[in-house]
Structure formats: C-alpha cells, structure tokens
C-alpha cells in the first residue's frame, strides 16, 4: 500500500486494464453483479414511487441531429 498519488493512479489504471482484458463472459457476469448491487443501494423510497423495475433514462438517440424521445 502507498499514499503516493502517482502510484495510486497507476494502480487504478492497471485495475481497469485488467478488467477490460477479462473474457467477455466474465465481464457480462460482472454487469449482472453490478446491476444487482446498484438496485440494492438505491433508496427504497425511490424505487417504491417509480416503476417496479429500475431503468435508466433512455439515451436521446438523435435523428438528423435533432433530439428524439
């Protein structure tokens, strides 16, 4: 362990590289786990007043440079 910021940043970059290089099946399993964790830490009040299934705000994919819903 170190408190050297340069080493800390480099270790974070190394972790990201390691995660990116893992087999895709393993990365998709990580997505499953991340989503479950995300749902677990969301405030209960938020999920109660909204849909029973949490989802993100859809991306405003554009047609002809204009925003679409």
């Amino acid at each position: 362990m170190t408190f050297d910021p340069a080493k800390i940043l480099e270790s974070k970059r190394a972790l990201r590289r390691d995660l990116a290089a893992r087999p895709i099946a393993e990365k998709l399993a990580l997505l499953d786990a991340l989503r479950e964790r995300e749902l677990a830490i969301r405030p209960a009040s938020q999920s109660a007043k909204e849909s029973s299934v949490l989802h993100e705000e859809p991306a405003p994919y554009r047609a002809g440079g204009k925003k679409t819903l």
């Binding site: 590289r17 990365k27 029973s52 299934v53 859809p58 405003p60 994919y61 440079g65």
Partner: protein
C-alpha cells in the same frame, strides 16, 4: 438475473424471424471493449420486418413474442431475465450504419452482434450526455479505437466539429 439469457432470447427471436438484424449498443455494448461499468438496462438496436400490409414500423411483434415467453412490459422496456431491455430502431444515419456494420462476438459459445468500438464512441459523442462523454473518454484512454476508422465515421456523419469541441474540452493538456 443473467444478461447471457437476454442475448440467447434475442438470438432465438431473430432465428424465429421476428427481427431481421440486431446489435447491442450502449453500456452493455461498450463492455465488449472496455471494463464493465454499472448499467441498469440493455439497448438493443433492431431492424424490423415490416408487417404485411403496413408501412408503419412497430415493436408490437417483439412485445408479443417476448411476453408470450415470460417477458413483462414496463413502459418502453421489456424485462427479460431480470434486465430491462429497450428495442430501438436506428434513429439516424449513424445508427443505421452502426447496425449494418456491427460485428459478431462470441460469449462462451453464444454469438452476439455488437456495435463496433468506433460506432459506439461516435454514438456517445452524438448523444452527448455527461455519461456518454465519460464513455467516450474511456474508449480513448483504453486505446481501443482505430483512429482512421473513427475519424471516417465522424466525417461521414457530420460529427467532426463536435469531436473538435470534445477534444478542446477534455483532451487538452492531458498528462
């Protein structure tokens, strides 16, 4: 909750002729090139087979197919194996090209079509939310973009000026 089940369901739906082509985009698509980042839903871009006698593109056949197999509709999403999935027709020439040029990947024996890294990055630039910009930075930092191919996509779809602004904002004076 298993995203591989989602992929297998979509493959089966394609094999059954409900959709013509599909490709995974968004954060799940980016995971094929980058480290996984938490996301709550799956974006699947599809080309629809037009219904007989109709010129209107409708996702109804997808909804009918999936709800008959246990999927549940939640607004614009269909929940498959615990994942909200959104089926999207390509809404721009960039989206159409991304769908047409998507590449086939293998997930432990299951094939899946995914946007190329260059198209995912270009779509992120075009969409332009904070998290899209963060994803674009991830692509750049990971070094997974083919620079010539990426610039060609940007030029074809009128995104060169947006890219220059992005560079100015985020990539100047990088250590």
């Amino acid at each position: 909750m298993n995203i591989r089940d989602v992929i297998q369901t979509i493959n089966q739906m394609q094999a059954d002729g409900v959709i013509e082509h599909y490709a995974v985009g968004g954060a799940v698509g980016a995971t094929f090139y980058l480290e996984p980042v938490a996301t709550l839903d799956v974006d699947v871009f599809v080309s629809f087979k037009p219904e007989a006698g109709s010129v209107i593109v409708s996702p109804q056949r997808i909804y009918d197919y999936l709800t008959a197999r246990g999927g549940t509709v939640q607004g614009e999403y269909i929940v498959i194996s615990g994942w909200p999935v959104q089926f999207l027709p390509p809404a721009s020439p960039l989206g159409e090209e991304a769908l047409a040029q998507a590449v086939e990947k293998d997930v432990a024996g299951t094939s899946v079509r995914v946007f190329t890294a260059e198209h995912l990055a270009a779509v992120a630039l075009q969409t332009g939310r904070a998290k899209d910009k963060a994803r674009l930075l991830q692509f750049i930092e990971a070094g997974v973009l083919d620079p010539a191919r990426f610039q060609a996509v940007l030029a074809r779809h009128g995104l060169t000026a947006a890219w220059q602004r992005f560079e100015q904002q985020f990539l100047r004076d990088q250590p």
